[in-house]
């Protein structure tokens, strides 16, 4: 069976005055219908750029997708023209962004902002779109949806705005929902509500989800497959259980150790990863994580490892076997 979405060797760079930023460096993954994929990594590791590249929303210039294919239902999105791409955006693949405070247009009513996608893609009339918008607002749990149709974004709280964003993304029943850190800007209690909402809607509508986060705790209960990114590379990927129960990449291990856990003593200090992610303007020749890695061997500084399987669906990009601590 062909996957719903297949990303092959995607590479995106930004040509800035300071030099070329190697934001995404040849990543590949697949997504099946109805599946949820988590993309994890710290800030600036290319998570957002990789999905914005899929949507072709990278600002060009300075950005440029330099290599790869994004095959959606047998069609390479990177070869489509702008008009064809518009038919994909919002209708087939929709996106929810990180900051609901700035992602909604402040001078247009939320009713307008949701219904315009319906008018553009579904050929609805104003009245049909309006009725559907109210339904959508009710679906994402906005009270008195019909009255709030005419309200502006500033009249909503952060959590409510993110619900509006979700209603907007789901308006045309997309096959894939890309959620780019949708809960990062929200309070913890609101975060949980939004995650539950997306889960419920995903199950109800049967869509595939790509969920980007730097919080491994969120992914555990949400995704089936997980990709761990570092400096624009995929360093580990596998089923969610592989990643949490049997992490094989030193970076994933370090990330998991830095998570606070309820079953651990509160006296214990949380582990941190020393150092900073590499400068994407000037990537080292070897493994990008090598300078911070406690398992580092000589080879790590010279050659960047490719992804190779360590289990049925489990792959890592590392020269070292962390279970033994020896070079593979």
């Amino acid at each position: 069976m062909t996957p719903l979405l297949e990303v092959r060797d995607l590479a995106t760079r930004f040509h800035t005055l300071d030099g070329t930023v190697y934001a995404v460096n040849g990543i590949s993954y697949t997504l099946e219908e109805g599946q949820t994929l988590g993309i994890v990594g710290e800030s600036g590791c290319g998570k957002s750029v990789s999905v914005l590249s899929v949507m072709r929303l990278i600002p060009e210039p300075p950005g440029k997708i330099v290599a790869g294919q994004v095959i959606y239902r047998g069609q390479d999105l990177l070869t489509l023209d702008e008009a064809q791409m518009r038919q994909i955006r919002g209708k087939e693949i929709a996106m929810v962004f990180q900051d609901p405070m700035t992602s909604l247009n402040p001078v247009l009513t939320i009713g307008r902002q949701i219904s315009e996608a319906l008018i553009a893609h579904m050929g609805m009339s104003q009245e049909q779109a309006r009725a559907r918008t109210v339904e959508l607002l009710e679906m994402v749990g906005i009270p008195q949806a019909a009255d709030r149709y005419r309200d502006y974004p500033h009249q909503f709280s952060g959590g409510m705005r993110q619900r509006v964003m979700i209603a907007m993304a789901l308006s045309c029943m997309p096959s894939i929902l890309i959620a780019d850190e949708p809960t990062t800007a929200l309070d913890v209690t609101i975060q949980a509500q939004i995650i539950d909402l997306v889960k419920a809607l995903r199950d109800r509508l049967g869509m595939a989800v790509i969920w980007i986060t730097h919080d491994l705790g969120i992914i555990a209960g949400l995704a089936e497959k997980v990709i761990v990114m570092y400096a624009g590379f995929i360093v580990e990927r596998g089923e969610v259980d592989d990643i949490y129960d049997d992490p094989r990449h030193p970076y994933t291990l370090a990330l998991l150790k830095s998570l606070p856990r309820v079953d651990r003593s509160s006296q214990e200090r949380l582990a941190t990863i020393p150092g900073l992610p590499p400068d994407l303007l000037d990537l080292p020749p070897g493994c990008p994580f090598a300078p911070r890695c406690i398992y580092r061997v000589e080879r790590c500084l010279q050659e960047n490892p490719q992804l190779k399987p360590v289990g049925l669906h489990h792959e890592i990009a590392c020269w070292v076997d962390v279970t033994t601590g020896r070079e593979q």
Partner: protein, 344 residues
């Protein structure tokens, strides 16, 4: 909102009074209206004294202002110069809607004089402003979208050249090219003076033809400036998150541009247009002079040079009131454009 409007209008009253006082004092100190009343000869001293008494120019300046403001029909004035006031005053004053009569064109009411010229100026200036707004938005939006493209660089260069040119130079250069040289080369050429050709009469086609060069001269400099401004605000807005959201929805480009972006980018633009419009009433002194357009700018120039206080005060107060009203309208338009702005 209506409370806010009423409060703003009430606040405007003392403001306008202060403006009028300052302008009146300045105006009365810029020249002697009696100096040119003798026609070609010097005004004789006895005529000068009589005229000063007639026009009330012998009074202290605060009394003159008071008469201008509230009239002098409540008091008597000394017309024959014997030191005893005997003739009842007839002026009603600005507060009762009478702006007085011109000192230069004896006895002609100020409002009549202004009314003869205002439509000509409004026609010229409104067309110019529309040309400025349309072209600067089109050029500004285009060069923002194609930032650092060849056309953007060309437009940028042209803007700096245009912005650096004084209006009188543009006016004279355009006359030289489109009238003088076009005629010499046997091309259809444009007229340079007046509103219409007297041999043809005041037809709309004639007026439009006569407007081409003045509109071109006045709009060029402003388009150069405004289009830079539109470009800068559009660039800022186009990098906002909500534009990315709109693009992620797969909306057509013109909706993203002209609804999502331009509505946000128009706030600063409304500010400068709101300041511009009242100035339109004053006309364009230099342009109207060069192209002999019978408008407010020339009227102002003719009367200010002969210290005709009532007419000049009439023009200036008209502009002042327009400034106050258009500032208020600008604020109301803000609230309409940006729902986050609320007045209480």
């Amino acid at each position: 909102m209506s409370q806010y409007i009423i409060r703003r209008l009430l606040q405007a009253i003392p403001l306008l009074l202060i403006i009028s006082l300052i302008l009146f004092v300045l105006m009365r100190n810029t020249g002697d209206p009696l100096a040119t009343m003798g026609g070609r000869r010097l005004t004789r001293p006895e005529d000068r004294a009589r005229l000063a008494r007639q026009f009330g120019l012998d009074k202290p300046i605060y009394v003159q202002y008071l008469y201008w403001l509230i009239g002098n029909d409540w008091t008597k004035i000394d017309m024959d110069g014997d030191g005893v006031p005997e003739t009842p005053g007839i002026r009603k004053g600005v507060l009762r809607g009478e702006f007085g009569t011109s000192l230069v064109t004896r006895g002609k009411p100020v409002l009549t004089i202004i009314w003869e010229r205002l439509p000509n100026t409004l026609l010229l200036m409104i067309i110019t402003e529309i040309v400025i707004i349309v072209f600067s938005i089109v050029i500004g939006v285009y060069s923002a979208l194609r930032q650092y493209s060849l056309i953007d660089h060309l437009v940028t260069t042209a803007s700096f050249v245009g912005y650096s040119m004084p209006i009188f130079f543009v006016a004279l250069a355009s006359m030289y090219i489109f009238a003088v040289n076009f005629k010499k080369w046997g091309l259809p050429y444009l007229p340079t003076v007046g509103m219409f050709d007297p041999q043809v009469g005041k037809t709309p086609a004639q007026v439009a033809l006569h407007m081409v060069l003045p509109v071109l001269s006045m709009s060029l400099v402003s388009i150069a400036g405004y289009s830079r401004f539109v470009r800068a605000t559009m660039l800022e807005v186009m990098s906002e998150d909500y534009i990315r959201t709109a693009r992620a929805k797969g909306l057509p480009n013109f909706i993203i541009l002209f609804i999502h972006a331009l509505k946000n980018a128009s706030l600063p633009l409304v500010t400068i247009i709101g300041l511009d419009i009242p100035m339109l009433l004053g006309g364009a002194i230099v342009t109207e002079r060069i192209f002999a357009w019978p408008g407010m700018g020339r009227l102002f120039l003719d009367h200010v040079s002969r210290a005709d206080t009532p007419v000049v005060m009439g023009i200036l107060m008209l502009i002042s009131v327009a400034v106050v009203i258009f500032q208020l309208i600008t604020d109301i338009v803000y609230a309409w454009l940006d729902p986050r702005i609320r007045y209480t």
